[in-house]
């Protein structure tokens, strides 16, 4: 709220900078012709130079003669019209200019800010996000330095490498994360999760491209644990990259079928399948009937009425928001966000989930 007052004050000040000169009174005066004034000053300057001995007498004479001729000519040419500062037309111009200022400045500024700014971050009290973040950041940094020092002395500590790798990943030091996972794999017993994480780091390092190296890592993981979800997921992506969409669909559908319904990756897998244009079986219920848009709408409506009546978890509310967004009913999604916030008012964690989802769905009008 405070911030909006500040922005409003800034806008008002900006508009005032334009309105202020428009409101002042001007005496109807002819402005002195700049040319004649200039030549007069020049002649005075020549006199001074002569007095200081910078110019010789004959030089000064010639210069003065020249300036004098130019002064005469400038005086002859003087056709400067008087300023038009009074009268009906001038008044109309003032009004038009004021209207321009009052409309262009706030509208353009707000429109530009709306498009490129991040007004959703405005509502946060100053530093609420930053302070703990920074504290955490510096603690983390200290920890990283300690672990790095430890690893420099004991480079064969696979466990240490495994601890630091995901930290590197979060810090954006992807190359380092890849190296850390390599070392973790080298010094520890083969493990499906580790191989999958290593592969994922490789994929991130290549901006999403699945290299041969990464593919090998994922295959290793699947060999160790055929149900390894992360590896399966990326192998499906690799298949898409190779143009084998059918293979990708099969992998994903198998993955979905073998996953428990509340597994964290189910949503991602469904999105991936939807992107491939494949029918989506319900998790763990093989051979579910194909779901048409009406059926989806029906399910969404059911979910909505249930949440409305009995309430539900933040995740369920978020799912409802996403469903509306997917169906293209953005206003309903915003509405759902609002209701969710009311329902979860006591639950900070849940509110955060809703906020994140709203940001993801770009439901800017649903901000508190």
């Amino acid at each position: 709220m405070v911030i909006w007052i500040i922005l409003l004050a800034m806008t008002a000040a900006a508009v005032m900078a334009v309105l202020w000169p428009l409101s002042r009174h001007y005496a109807v005066a002819r402005q002195a012709d700049p040319d004649t004034q200039f030549y007069r000053e020049q002649i005075a300057e020549i006199e001074r130079d002569l007095a200081r001995g910078v110019l010789l007498a004959n030089e000064a004479e010639a210069a003065k003669a020249e300036a004098g001729r130019r002064l005469l000519r400038a005086t002859g040419l003087q056709a400067e019209e008087a300023f038009a500062a009074v009268g009906e037309p001038a008044l109309r111009r003032r009004r038009a200019a004021s209207t321009l200022a009052l409309s262009i400045i706030p509208l353009l500024a707000l429109a530009t800010y709306e498009i490129y700014g991040s007004p959703q971050l405005l509502s946060e009290p100053p530093g609420a996000r930053m302070q703990p973040q920074q504290a955490g950041g510096s603690n983390l940094l200290g920890a990283v330095v300690e672990i790095e020092a430890h690893l420099a002395k004991n480079p064969q500590d696979g466990r240490g490498w495994e601890v630091i790798a995901p930290v590197y990943l979060r810090m954006g030091r992807i190359e380092d994360a890849v190296k850390a996972y390599e070392s973790a794999i080298r010094y520890q017993a083969p493990d499906a999760v580790r191989f999958a994480n290593y592969g994922e780091a490789l994929v991130l390092a290549k901006d999403g491209l699945i290299s041969a190296e990464a593919q090998t890592a994922f295959e290793q993981a699947v060999k160790l644990d055929p149900s390894a979800p992360k590896a399966q997921f990326y192998l499906a992506r690799a298949a898409v990259q190779d143009g084998q969409t059918d293979k990708a669909k099969t992998i994903l559908q198998d993955l979905l079928a073998s996953s428990p319904a509340d597994a964290p990756w189910v949503d991602a897998v469904r999105q991936e399948l939807a992107a491939l244009g494949a029918p989506q079986p319900e998790a763990a219920t093989a051979g579910a009937p194909q779901i048409g848009p009406e059926a989806i709408a029906g399910m969404v409506a059911g979910l909505a009425s249930r949440l409305e009546a009995q309430g539900g978890s933040a995740e369920e509310w978020a799912r409802l928001m996403r469903s509306y967004a997917v169906l293209g009913q953005r206003d309903k999604a915003s509405d759902a966000a609002k209701r969710a916030r009311e329902a979860l008012a006591q639950d900070a964690q849940g509110l955060k989930t809703i906020d994140t989802m709203a940001q993801e769905l770009k439901l800017t009008d649903a901000q508190p």
Partner: protein, 660 residues
């Protein structure tokens, strides 16, 4: 929150600039002082908004606010404070923000110097200035927004490009930008004169300080950049004819021509139309420089941005302003009043020659820089135009210009006497020739270019000195009187002489590089490498770990003719976050020359590659540039009118000449 307010301030500045563009232009057409008076206050408000925005970004950098994408990409919480500040403009987005900040600052200064500028000229100028501001604000907001947020915030930044983590970076871009953007004021004044269809005599007087100031800053900026490349890149070179360097040299050459033609215009009311054209061209070249550096057309240290969208946008700005102003020129220039006449042999004539040479030199640099790009676009063939091209085209244009410089400086206004002038320079010419021959004899067998170049430089320095001496002293004048007279000379005269002497010093420094010596060797601790009269011994190699980099520092003892002169330290650094290696050259200054060493990779046998250079008089290159800028500054402090007293014609009594 502050970051968002800064972002909003930038959006406000856009709206204000639009008003600053529309209302004063309308006011000037309707001759309505009320509307014209909107220009100054709005210009100040635009500056306030952009300054606030810049401070908000700086604050984000100081606090390592990693919810701002720009900070994440270019900063690191462990970075030293000064690089957190300089990091604000050490990247594409931030540097563009600095660009408009300086633009708005200059607009505000034009706005508050209310009494010295006629109202209509001021209103039109600020409107043109606003048009430039609008274009660049749109560019920043749409394609290079420094206020883009990251949600959730990153934990740590990716650090600043290590090459740019240097005190040089803290100063180089602001100086350069003040130079570039300063020319935008000359440009805005030129466009304003064209829009109004008249050039007042006051025009040149008002524009001169801006042009001169911009020129002085550009000189410093280029010199600073050159020195930075010299010690940071570790190749021992100070000018590479790299397109990015050329991009700053072109506006400098055009700006140098502009400074001189403005003087003619102010003093003699001549060369008006040409001066207007030069003002337009100079800023166009500044924009071209911005385009070359910022669009990613060139791949070099300076191109942080490789982004076609940005390139197209800046190209659009370039076409709009260059095309627009030249069209305005073509339409309006014929209506402008032509000024005074002068004889071919006169100070004016000499300055025309100066302008022709500088313009042609600028054109050769232009061709050498853009031809490879055009060729690549048209045929896909990649060629590189390097030092040989420029040595063969640029030098033959600059050397005659420099030879004529002392002559032109001595000629009288309006009509000069060539032989008489040459006589006044006999002594200067003689001493320089003698010095050249003596040097040639002593270094017989060495490079011929060095003594010749040093002779030329000496001739320039002595020529400038002669100008002061001959104006203050004639045979029989006691020294005390001459000194008093010399001090009484206008500061503009001193400024001219000092700036021209600076050119001479730079020429001497450049010529002496021909005597430079280079040696490469692979050294173990205790071993020596000899280059010319100098020798270094590798004392030890120290590994160090700093907050954001690791380095190997080699300590070398320098010997000259067997005597120990001192030690120097050269480093090879690895910046951890980006995994990027850099070289820090070790430099030992001896007089005006330098012993310069940089280390390469360690060899398997434990030795380390060392490059050793001896560069005699190399410091003169930058000292000369500094002296040039100081000359400009001294002239700038002289606020009096410039008088160019015409030489009276000999055939008629002086008062009866119908000179016009």
């Amino acid at each position: 929150m502050l970051v968002e307010a800064g972002h909003f301030a930038l959006a406000l500045a856009l709206g204000l600039s639009l008003i600053q563009f529309l209302v004063p232009l309308w006011g000037a057409r309707a001759n309505d002082p009320v509307l014209m008076a909107v220009a100054p206050t709005t210009a100040v408000a635009v500056f306030a908004c952009i300054a606030f925005s810049f401070l908000a970004l700086t604050f984000a950098y100081l606090n390592s606010d990693f919810s701002v994408l720009n900070v994440v990409q270019n900063s690191h919480s462990a970075k030293p404070l000064i690089y957190k500040i300089s990091g604000v403009w050490g990247n594409h987005e931030g540097s563009m923000l600095l660009w408009v900040l300086i633009l708005a600052l200059f607009g505000a200064v034009v706005a508050i110097s209310r009494n010295s500028i006629p109202m209509r000229l001021q209103a039109n100028t600020l409107a043109v200035q606003a048009a430039v501001t609008i274009a660049f604000l749109l560019f920043i907001l749409t394609t290079s927004n420094p206020f883009t947020r990251v949600v959730p915030a990153a934990l740590e930044g990716q650090d600043l490009n290590p090459l740019l983590q240097d005190p040089g970076l803290a100063i180089h871009p602001p100086l350069l930008y003040i130079g570039y953007v300063g020319f935008s004021i000359s440009f805005a004044f030129a466009c304003a004169a064209l829009i109004d269809g008249r050039i007042d005599a006051v025009w040149a007087r008002i524009v001169r300080p801006w042009t001169l100031g911009a020129w002085a800053f550009l000189t410093l900026g280029i010199a600073m950049g050159s020195y930075w490349a010299y010690y940071e890149l570790g190749w021992g070179g100070w000018w590479f004819w790299d397109p990015v360097e050329n991009a700053s040299l072109m506006p400098w050459l055009a700006g140098t021509a502009l400074v001189h033609s403005t003087v003619v215009m102010e003093k003699r009311d001549a060369l008006k139309v040409w001066t207007i054209l030069l003002a337009i061209l100079t800023f166009s070249l500044s924009l071209l420089g911005t385009f070359l550096v910022r669009s990613g057309v060139l791949t070099s240290v300076h191109s942080f941005a490789v982004d076609p969208e940005r390139g197209t946008f800046i190209l659009g700005i370039l076409i709009l302003f260059v095309g627009g102003s030249l069209a305005l020129f073509a339409w309006r220039a014929p209506m402008l009043k032509q000024g005074g006449l002068f004889a071919p042999v006169s100070r004016e004539g000499a300055l025309v020659v100066n302008n022709l040479f500088l313009a042609t030199a600028c054109a050769t640099v232009f061709i050498g820089t853009l031809y490879p790009l055009a060729l690549e676009v048209l045929t896909g063939e990649k060629i590189s135009v390097g030092a040989p091209f420029f040595n063969f085209t640029f030098l033959p244009l600059i050397v005659p210009l420099l030879l004529l410089l002392p002559l032109g400086q001595t000629l009288a206004w309006k009509r000069g006497n060539f032989l008489g002038t040459a006589q006044r320079l006999y002594a200067v010419f003689g001493i320089s020739l003698l010095a050249t021959m003596v040097m040639f004899a002593f270094t017989y067998g060495g490079p011929v270019a060095a003594p010749l170049g040093i002779g030329l430089g000496l001739y320039l320095v002595l020529g400038s000195l002669n100008e002061i001496v001959s104006r203050a002293w004639s045979k029989g004048t006691p020294l005390a009187v001459a000194w008093r007279k010399a001090r009484g000379l206008p500061r503009s005269a001193w400024g001219t002489a000092i700036a021209h002497a600076g050119v001479g010093l730079t020429v001497i420094g450049i010529a002496a590089t021909a005597w430079g010596i280079e040696a490469i060797g692979s050294l173990k601790v205790g071993e020596r490498l000899k280059g010319g009269d100098y020798e270094v011994r590798l004392e030890r190699v120290i590994p160090r770990v700093e907050a954001n980099y690791r380095e190997e520092a080699a300590v070398l003892t320098v010997f000259g003719n067997g005597r120990e002169l001192g030690t120097l330290e050269t480093m090879k650094r690895l910046y951890v976050t980006r995994g990027m290696p850099t070289t820090e050259a070790g430099i030992l200054t001896i007089g005006l020359g330098q012993v310069y060493a940089s280390i390469g990779d360690a060899q398997p046998d434990g030795s380390i590659g060392v490059r050793l250079y001896h560069k005699p008089l190399v410091l003169l290159i930058w000292i000369g540039s500094l002296v040039m800028a100081i000359g400009g500054g001294i002239s700038l402090t002289d606020r009096r009118l410039r008088i160019g007293a015409p030489a009276p014609a000999k055939t008629m009594p002086p008062n009866a000449v119908p000179a016009e």
